[in-house]
């Protein structure tokens, strides 16, 4: 057993176990906190796969940013002293159809894919190549996306401003 394998199983257990907490917890905030660790575990997987840059960005953006935002939103929107609300929802028919459909889709994808198994390569820095690709080959999509995000941010600020004035 390699040391990497040990971490693989550790991360797997973490993701699956806490993923369950996210889905089934009766406390919305517990779900949000568990989600943080799920995202953290995913970052761990990225590291194991040699995608170090992606892993760090995953932690920074999803775990550090999005998750904190989620927790903030939960705390602000709910009656914070009694967060009894759960995200368990029992719309049986709808949820069965949706969940079953997705499960079937995933299963068929598993079945139909020929998995390309290669030996794990040496850990190489990916930052350099990602940077080069982003600023040479994919410069246009990169810029378009940045512009889109900027527009979204400005409009969000405008919406909030309007609310404050009235």
């Amino acid at each position: 057993m390699e040391i990497a394998d040990l971490f693989f199983y550790l991360f797997s257990v973490m993701i699956i176990g806490l993923g369950g907490v996210v889905a089934f917890s009766r406390n919305l905030l517990h779900s949000a906190f568990a989600l943080f660790f799920v995202l953290f575990g995913v970052a761990g997987f990225y590291v194991l796969l040699g995608a170090d840059f992606l892993a760090m960005v995953q932690i920074m953006v999803y775990a550090g940013g999005v998750c904190v935002l989620l927790i903030f939103a939960t705390m602000l929107s709910d009656n914070i002293s009694q967060p009894g609300k759960s995200n368990l929802s029992f719309q049986t028919v709808l949820s069965t159809v949706a969940g079953g459909g997705i499960a079937l889709l995933l299963l068929s994808a598993f079945e139909n894919t020929t998995w390309n198994v290669v030996a794990p390569g040496a850990m190489e820095p990916t930052t350099n190549s990602i940077g080069k690709l982003l600023l040479n080959e994919y410069i246009l999509p990169f810029e378009v996306i940045s512009f889109l995000l900027l527009a979204a941010m400005v409009s969000a600020i405008m919406l909030v401003k309007k609310g404050e004035n009235s």
Partner: protein, 385 residues
């Protein structure tokens, strides 16, 4: 590692595990000791500044006070408030400590070889791992079932999240200079002379240095940005309800943070452990240089805490978004342009760095003059008794 596999007949896996544990223990021991000593130093320095003694009973000059404190805190009753979220309440202090400790992985205690892991995305790791602390503080604030704690937690999360951005932006400047995200490469890009340090290389990197220092003060919840703990407003912020060992862990994380501010500032901006050429590679000297610089930065941090009042939450946010972030962006942009120019005229690099350093020295001399005035005035006798 060879020693373990060959002589003790371990498999490679177990040898790896053992080495990991040893390294973890060493790092943790250094961290715990440093945070303890920082807490002692803080009390002594505060005492000196406030015309009193500070702790001077346990051990020579009271240096063992932190051990006594730790023993006291461990033996204290561990109270859990009524209505608290017990599980979250219990694990939170460790989460905070973990977030602070994990940063130590990419920071050198001495030369480049004395790093736990010289990750090639080290700087990114350094920035992103802080988010664990945010979650820890939020959880602490919420799970205590205390409104003051909750306010403290919210403040803290908002503060750390928004100060992460100028800090990350200001780190782009040394990254540009070194051309790498690895902390080891950043160390190598600086020399041992002050004008070869990143902080004094160009006016822009000096700007980035100040943004980074201020930002990391805010991320470490130190005065003037100690709003999450603001004892005169929020009683004690997110750790109000904690007692006993769990409080000790919070405390350790807090003082460890001061150590980390010193360590990261030294490594990234102040030349790290670099020595003159003929001494290069001497492990003891490099550790000594690194620690000296770190301790100086820690002293500045403590000094600031006992001098300055505290910001208000909106002023804090203003400072981050309206001043520090633009400054960091200017530093980044200016540094890029400067490097393009310096590519054409190589001599300009040397000249600018020396000029920046001289300007810095002049400011220092002015500052020391003011300190002297204070000392002179303080020696006027009162004439009682």
């Amino acid at each position: 590692m060879n020693l373990l596999t060959d002589t003790l007949g371990m498999t490679e896996f177990w040898a790896n595990v053992v080495i990991m544990l040893i390294v973890c223990t060493i790092v943790f021991a250094v961290f715990a000791l440093m945070s303890g000593i920082t807490s002692w130093a803080e009390r002594r320095i505060a005492g000196r500044m406030q015309s009193r003694y500070g702790c001077n009973r346990v051990g020579p000059q009271g240096i063992l006070q932190f051990v006594a404190d730790a023993v006291k805190l461990i033996l204290k009753e561990d109270l859990i408030p009524d209505g608290a979220d017990r599980f979250l309440y219990k694990i939170t202090p460790y989460l905070c400590l973990m977030g602070v400790l994990a940063t130590l992985v990419v920071l050198p205690l001495g030369s480049r070889a004395m790093m736990v892991a010289d990750l090639n995305v080290g700087v990114l790791y350094f920035i992103s791992i802080t988010s664990i602390v945010v979650i820890g503080i939020l959880m602490a604030g919420w799970s205590s079932n205390n409104k003051w704690s909750l306010l403290g937690g919210m403040r803290s999360a908002a503060q750390i999240v928004s100060y992460e951005i100028p800090v990350a932006m200001s780190l782009l400047t040394p990254i540009l200079i070194a051309g790498s995200l690895s902390v080891g490469d950043l160390l190598d890009s600086q020399g041992w002379l002050p004008w070869e340090w990143t902080a004094f290389q160009t006016p822009f990197s000096a700007l980035a240095f100040f943004v980074f220092f201020i930002g990391s003060l805010a991320e470490g919840n130190r005065t003037p940005f100690d709003l999450p703990e603001a004892e005169s407003e929020l009683v004690s912020g997110f750790n109000t309800e904690y007692s006993g060992f769990r409080f000790a862990v919070f405390f350790m994380a807090e003082y460890g943070n001061v150590f980390l501010i010193g360590l990261s500032t030294t490594a990234l901006f102040l030349g790290g452990p670099n020595l003159p050429g003929f001494l290069q590679g001497n492990p003891f000297l490099s550790v000594a240089v690194m620690m000296l610089k770190t301790i100086f930065i820690m002293f500045v941090v403590i000094w600031l805490r006992w001098t300055l009042p505290r910001f208000r939450i909106d002023q804090l946010m203003d400072l981050s978004w309206k001043y520090l972030l633009p400054c960091a962006l200017i530093a980044f942009f200016g540094q890029s342009v400067f490097m393009l120019v310096a590519h054409q005229i190589p001599a300009i690099t040397q000249i600018t760095s020396i000029v920046v350093f001289i300007v810095f020295l002049l400011i220092m001399i002015k500052f020391i003059g003011r300190i002297r005035t204070n000392y002179k005035e303080q020696s006027i006798p009162v004439g009682l008794n």
